[in-house]
Amino acid sequence: MDRRLVRDIALVCLADGFVGVSFGAITVSEDLPIWLPILLSVVVFAGASQFVFVGLVTSGGNPIAAMAAGLLVNARHLPMGFAIGDLFGRSWLRRILGSHLLIDESVAFALAQRDPMQRRAAFWGCGIGLFVSWNLGVFLGAVGGTAITDTDTLGLDAAFPAVLLALALPALRDTATRWAALTGAVIAVAAAPFLPAGLPVLLALAGVAVTFIGRSPADRTPPRSTPSHESVSPESGVAS
């Protein structure tokens, strides 16, 4: 792994660590038990769903309903797993550990690299780094509280989309991919006000259909117009 990649990953770990601190502190300040944010972060390890879960429990929701909402937010990891599933090789240990470390950032860092060796290094480096920094942050926030409960003051809420955007940008040079991405983004934003968190991003996958338009007639599937259903947006989340 070259030094630039290490530095880039370290920055994302630092930013997510701060968000973890605030997640831990906020959860405990809502009178939830101190072990909850810590346990969530270790066993779920997906920031957006953790915020959704805690938010629903705090507002008096049934924990089972909160669990279902969290699962919906995390369903996007399924297609991500298929896209990078060959990265772990055949070792069961690696497949199990790698799966647990599969989050937006580790997938994005992996896919932004060109050669397979670099992809693997980026995935494991980012996955392990974030697992450590996220859990350490949440632990410190839960146990010690923090002065920074509002990470928006630091602009960290803008950092998460900027990270994903910067890492996905090279892939957008391909015209068909770019149109598919744009279509998906429009679907997700249009649907967000009407659907529960997580679903809009899944509906965005309909944007993939755009890549079939303009194929040679031989391998063309009938061009589908993008479904006009609206979807809802997930909470912005780090380490999600």
Binding site: L71, A158, L164, L169
Partner: protein, 104 residues
């Protein structure tokens, strides 16, 4: 309390199942190139949707101007091939600076 632990554990197991399905079902390293390409596009589409929604929305509501402005600044810098660190710091700095000035 028991329900809370149980809900947390099931969320963890379910999330793991989502993540594990791909790596476990893709036992063959070589899928048809077209399918491989399609899955790559799908992930980029997911990222685009995540970027768009997390830039513009907080839950179901418009998030205000500071965050989108930060992301746009970061996006333009990334497009002009600025180093990743600069992109992220500029995005966060722009949003933080605008809020300091009272922009929501």
């Amino acid at each position: 309390m028991t329900t809370l632990i149980l809900a947390t554990l099931i969320l963890g197991v379910g999330t793991f199942a989502f993540r594990f399905a791909g790596p476990v079902l893709r036992t063959r390293a070589d899928l048809p190139p077209r399918l491989e390409k399609l899955m790559g596009v799908a992930v980029v589409v997911l990222f685009a949707a995540l970027v768009a929604t997390s830039t513009l929305l907080d839950g179901r509501d418009f998030v205000g101007f500071a965050r989108p402005a930060g992301v746009v600044v970061g996006g333009v810098l990334a497009w002009r091939k600025a180093p990743f660190v600069i992109v992220v710091l500029a995005a966060a700095g722009t949003a933080a600076g605008l809020r300091l000035l009272g922009v929501p």
